[in-house]
């Protein structure tokens, strides 16, 4: 366990060292993220010039949701997306062999191998937005409140990781499907808003097919202080189910791997 964590830390340091060579990119990244945020906030202002609530969410609560959206998006793009993208390239090129030879659990290795430290700018931005929203809400922050939020956030990360891993694992069967990750990106856009605004069929897709609901809406509900224990319970069950399923799928996929001429 400790060995695995220190390994991940090493990859993180490697990513940091690489990025330090391109410091300017960090600021460009930050500016891009700020513009991106401004689009979300601008849309929010236009909509709230016509209404006081959106599907039961107030302006401040939606601000918190936008914060969660940015935070999660940044976390995905810091480790999960770059690592799994690299993994898919490796399977295609046959270079996964080198990784399989190492005396470490391969699923762990492919999941933490590539770190985009720049993306931490967006993590920071998301955290700032959440903080501002919490201050505006003015409600006292209790331990239960914080615990529910952190739990929802963790569940969201687990669910989204498993989802990405399963998508990426498909590469063992179909070599040319890097585009499948685009599906997630475009559906994740829908997570800028609470899933409750979507019609039932789309809400179902966003909850169980592409789990945007548990990644963004549910943690934001926790921040707004109206997360029901039932929802949290379903989240726990879903996270466990996804962990088991993705693990099983990964092992089946790995058995199919033949390597190339490497």
């Amino acid at each position: 366990m400790f060995r695995h964590l220190s390994l991940a830390l090493h990859y993180f340091r490697l990513g940091l060292a690489t990025e330090m060579e391109y410091r300017m990119n960090f600021f460009i990244q930050l500016i891009t993220a700020c513009i991106n945020l401004a689009v979300s906030l601008g849309g929010l202002e236009i909509i709230f010039s016509h209404t006081q609530t959106l599907n039961g969410w107030t302006h401040t609560e939606l601000l918190a949701l936008i914060g969660v959206y940015f935070l999660m998006s940044a976390l995905i793009h810091t480790i999960i997306q770059p690592s799994l993208q690299k993994f898919m390239e490796d399977v295609r090129g046959g270079t996964l062999d080198f990784l399989l030879l190492k005396p470490v659990e391969p699923q762990w290795l492919v999941s933490v191998r590539q770190v985009q430290v720049m993306q931490l700018a967006n993590v920071l931005l998301g955290a700032v937005v959440i903080t501002v929203a919490l201050m505006r809400m003015g409600t006292a922050i209790t331990i239960a409140h914080t615990a529910a939020f952190l739990l929802a956030l963790t569940l969201g990360l687990i669910i989204v990781y498993c989802f990405w891993l399963m998508l990426a694992t498909l590469v063992f069967w179909f070599l040319k499907i890097d585009n499948i990750l685009v599906i997630f990106e475009s559906l994740y856009e829908a997570g800028r808003w609470p899933v409750g605004i979507y019609p039932a069929w789309l809400k179902f897709i966003l909850t169980f097919v592409v789990p945007v609901a548990f990644v963004v809406t549910v943690p934001a509900e926790a921040l707004a202080g109206r997360l029901s224990p039932q929802t949290l319970g379903i989240g726990v069950l879903l996270a466990v189910a996804m962990l088991v399923l993705s693990r099983w799928f990964w092992r089946r996929g790995l058995r199919r791997y033949e390597g190339a001429s490497a």
């Binding site: 016509h50 609530t53 585009n179 685009v182 856009e189 829908a190």
Partner: protein, 268 residues
């Protein structure tokens, strides 16, 4: 000369079609993402209308559905990706190959753009039908307005293409075009009518939108199709579209000519 050009286009269509058919799954996935974009704001505004007791600013859920469904078609017609492509081919020096050919590279881009848009109707039209059934749009329009819509759509497509191509020329001067492109698409998002029908924007934004090219790509054809424009506004709209197209053709030409003078590459 003209006969040569026609021959060139026909040949390019065949090649592009073959290429795009090879990547059909990838392009289909990309297309699904593009279809989803307008749907998000359709759902947001429908939700607002419901909270406000049925309508907001004269739009009910059925009107929003009609607005954003037509936007799906406009979005498709106005799609251009050459600003991303030119950033790459200028930086990498791939442009050199194209400069050697005895024909302006824009012809290749135009034919590629048209092939993609026609080919992707295979996905767009069924999706459009399905979404029509799911979102139940309401139209209060006239036959004349609907008959004029295809022309406004073609003009919008041409305008978006030439504007985008002019923007692509920025890559001759800077290698940070990502920022330029992002600014362009953000402005387009707010001032074209994508974030909201323009009449729902605050007054100052409506004023700004009037003087920018974006509304003549999106808002004008959509509102025309929905029967929300009178004869005077329709004539004005077509006229402004034509003026913007002319303007971007001039800018584009100028930028291209001074751009290739600056351009240099090694190897290739």
């Amino acid at each position: 000369m003209l006969a040569n050009l026609v021959q060139f286009y026909l040949a390019r269509f065949r090649i592009n079609l073959a290429v795009q058919f090879q990547y059909r799954v990838a392009m289909g996935i990309w297309m699904l993402g593009l279809i989803l974009e307008p749907l998000v704001y359709l759902c947001v505004w429908t939700s607002v209308a419901k909270t406000q007791g049925g309508t907001v600013g004269g739009f009910g859920p059925g009107d929003f559905a009609a607005y954003y469904l037509i936007m799906l078609l406009v979005h498709h017609a106005c799609l251009i990706w050459h600003m991303f492509e030119y950033d790459f081919i200028i930086r990498q020096g791939i442009l050199s190959n194209r400069l050697l050919r005895p024909i302006h590279p824009i012809h290749g881009d135009i034919s590629e753009n048209i092939t993609y848009k026609v080919f992707m109707l295979v996905i767009l039209l069924p999706a459009f039908g399905l979404l029509w059934y799911l979102f139940k749009p309401e139209f209060h329009t006239t036959v004349g307005a609907v008959a004029l819509f295809p022309f406004a759509l073609l003009m919008a497509g041409a305008l978006a293409f030439f504007a985008g191509w002019a923007l692509a020329m920025a890559a001759f001067w800077t290698n940070r075009t990502a920022a330029v492109n992002q600014a362009w698409f953000v402005a387009m998002f707010f001032f074209s009518g994508q974030a909201a029908p323009l009449s729902l924007l605050p007054p100052w934004m409506q004023d700004v939108a009037f003087y920018l090219p974006f509304r003549w790509m999106y808002s004008f054809p959509i509102e025309l199709c929905l029967g929300r424009l009178d004869t005077r506004k329709i004539l004005h709209g077509f006229g402004t579209q034509a003026l913007w197209i002319l303007g971007f053709l001039i800018i584009m030409n100028f930028a291209w000519r001074s751009g290739i003078k600056r351009y240099s590459a090694s190897g290739g």
